[in-house]
């Protein structure tokens, strides 16, 4: 595993017209960033229950003010509880949701501002692996068609070439060639996820968004898929956005980790720093909740109090304050911004009382 690259902190004075930005990577201008997410917000307007109701429609703020970047070959993990908005971020990256505010920049260009031609190229370059291997493959298509579908959509190659590519891909993910003639329901969850990975590799992407790829799999299979992803990443120098709620799995694959809560980033740090010295109370709680083997009473891990509030009605100030052991008056009023932790410039946390 390569050493985590340290991210240069942003000097507030170097960004003239903007306030302290929650930014977790080198600034624009350096061509280092493959992907830049800049103050992304994704809000959904919910349907009113009856067309006679007055007032504005309720808005679900799935993602608010999220910024991060990913360099070529880097793996950023995005973690948080179910419902914190991480899946939404992933889907926004592949174009399934349009940003309500903010921008997503791929290789320096804003996705929404691109020419159609360029946008299509980006759809090839950013690929997604979905959470549920039982749902992400069309049960009526044979595996060969499943794998070659992206190629068909993008108009890559003729029939023979695509068939050849399918053969290559299926072996790369460790399945026999005759799997191509079978149907998805004839395979187990782990095998289907391999098929999904093969499908994603077809268009030769540069960035893979893996949305909880292990959650639906048996624990014994999870490590196999993790290893597969790891190996493919090495071989092809892929960047990854690895979305998960499982910090233990993330530990294996991530270079940096971003922690999300209720649609906002609360901490961004290199892997080692996050696991050793989490700065935000929420990250700390997540780390402590990881069950450890053979350490007596502490091994059971400590759960976080309370439930995730509804994104339709987020708490005022810091979104975490109702559940935070450190909460004070200011937390109810003023939302903290991501800023470097004391003494550790590479680690950013959004807390008034960070460690």
């Amino acid at each position: 595993m390569s050493a985590p690259r340290s991210a240069e902190p942003l000097q507030a004075s170097e960004r003239p017209a903007e306030g302290p930005r929650a930014h977790a990577g080198p600034s624009v201008g350096a061509n280092a960033n493959l992907l830049e997410v800049d103050r992304l917000a994704v809000h959904f307007s919910m349907a009113r229950k009856s067309w006679l109701q007055r007032g504005p429609s309720p808005v679900l703020q799935a993602v608010s003010d999220v910024s991060f970047s990913i360099r070529p070959g880097e793996t950023l993990a995005l973690v948080g509880e179910s419902g914190c908005g991480k899946t939404t971020v992933g889907r926004a990256l592949v174009g399934l949701y349009a940003p309500t505010r903010g921008a997503i920049r791929f290789q320096g260009e804003d996705l929404e501002q691109m020419t159609q031609q360029r946008r299509k190229q980006c759809r090839r370059a950013i690929q997604m692996i979905f959470q549920d291997p039982y749902e992400s493959l069309n049960p009526r298509l044979p595996v060969s068609d499943v794998i070659t579908e992206p190629l068909v959509i993008h108009g890559i190659g003729n029939r023979e070439e695509r068939a050849e590519r399918a053969r290559e891909l299926i072996t790369q993910v460790g399945l026999p060639v005759d799997a191509l003639n079978r149907y998805p329901h004839q395979f187990s969850g782990g095998q289907r996820q391999r098929i999904a990975i093969a499908r994603a590799l077809g268009p030769e992407p540069e960035l893979m968004v893996a949305d909880e790829p292990l959650s639906a799999l048996d624990v014994s299979i999870q490590s196999q898929i993790l290893n597969l992803m790891s190996e493919l990443r090495e071989r092809r120098r892929l960047s990854f956005l690895f979305i998960s709620h499982d910090l233990a799995a993330v530990h294996h694959l991530a270079d940096r980790v971003a922690v999300m809560y209720l649609g906002r980033l609360v901490e961004v740090a290199p892997r080692a720093e996050l696991y050793a010295t989490p700065s935000h109370p929420y990250s700390r709680a997540l780390i402590e909740a990881i069950p450890r083997v053979g350490q007596g009473r502490r091994s059971r891990g400590r759960a976080i109090q309370g439930d995730l509030p509804s994104p339709l009605n987020p708490p005022s100030g810091c979104a975490f304050h109702p559940r935070c052991p450190k909460a004070q008056a200011i937390c109810r009023v003023e939302a903290p911004l991501l800023a470097p932790a004391p003494g550790r410039p590479v680690q950013l946390a959004a807390c008034h009382f960070k460690d």
Binding site: G95, E135, S136, I153
Partner: protein, 317 residues
Amino acid sequence: MTELIAGNAPAAASAVADRPQPVWQLRWRRLRRNRAAVLGGIVLLLLVLFAASAPLYERLMGVDVNDTNLLARFAPPSTHHLLGTDEAGRDVLARLMYGGRVSLLVGLASAVSAALLGTLIGLLAGYYRGRTEAILMRMTDGVISLPLLPLLIVFAAIDLQKLGFSEAFVRSPTANFYRIVIIIALVEWTTVARLVRASTLGLMAREFVLAARAQGASARHILTVHVLPNTASPIIVALSLAVGQIILLESTLSFLGLGIQPPTPSWGNMLNNAQELISRAPALAFYPGLLIFVTVIAVNFLGDGLQDAFDPRAEVH
């Protein structure tokens, strides 16, 4: 490292489920076990043969369905006219056969047209959502709330010449046929539309469709590759259940004098003719009515069986 991954391969081969049967085979078997449905299917087949063999019958018996013979009206069954003759001296059996052709053809053509129209509307509504969906669904609800038969009667009573068609065309049997098919399709599409919309909505939320959309797939691709194949079964079931209703509608319209116009025989208009003669020659009313009844009940049995066979709750995946 590759061994670790490829090491799955032999495990994969044995872990693959042992040859589950393709879905269609399963459905066929379930259908076969439903005796009523099988009976219905056989009867339907026989009826189709019956109708199709009209010209053959004519040749064999040396009759012409259009031959009127006022000297031989209401003749009882004989070797020349197997079921006798009607009020104009025409061979009853031949007319029944030709009538069958018309009724079955209209039934099928209307059902298919209604299904096509309904599918189109349902797909558009389910795929594009938003305002398109709202308008289309309101329209569907509106049509459903209309009284069926009165509306059909109005449609049938329209003077096509006011729409710009020539008089000759308006009077032709072709126009007559198309008019029936079109107006029935115009009132029967709604069930399929609702069904297809519901199915499309459900499918659009499924992850394999999301995967295709993330690739930037066109509407055409998503609808043809993902939505339609998964919607085909409900459409087929709805179609088969509708055919019975459609045949009844056509015969009712023809009975009222608004459907297939004489001299082209249709089971419905044969009954119309036979009305006034009910005391004198009840058989003339009985045969066509019986045939309609048998056809519709056979279709209903078959459709019911199809519905059971295609029941998604009985299906594994």
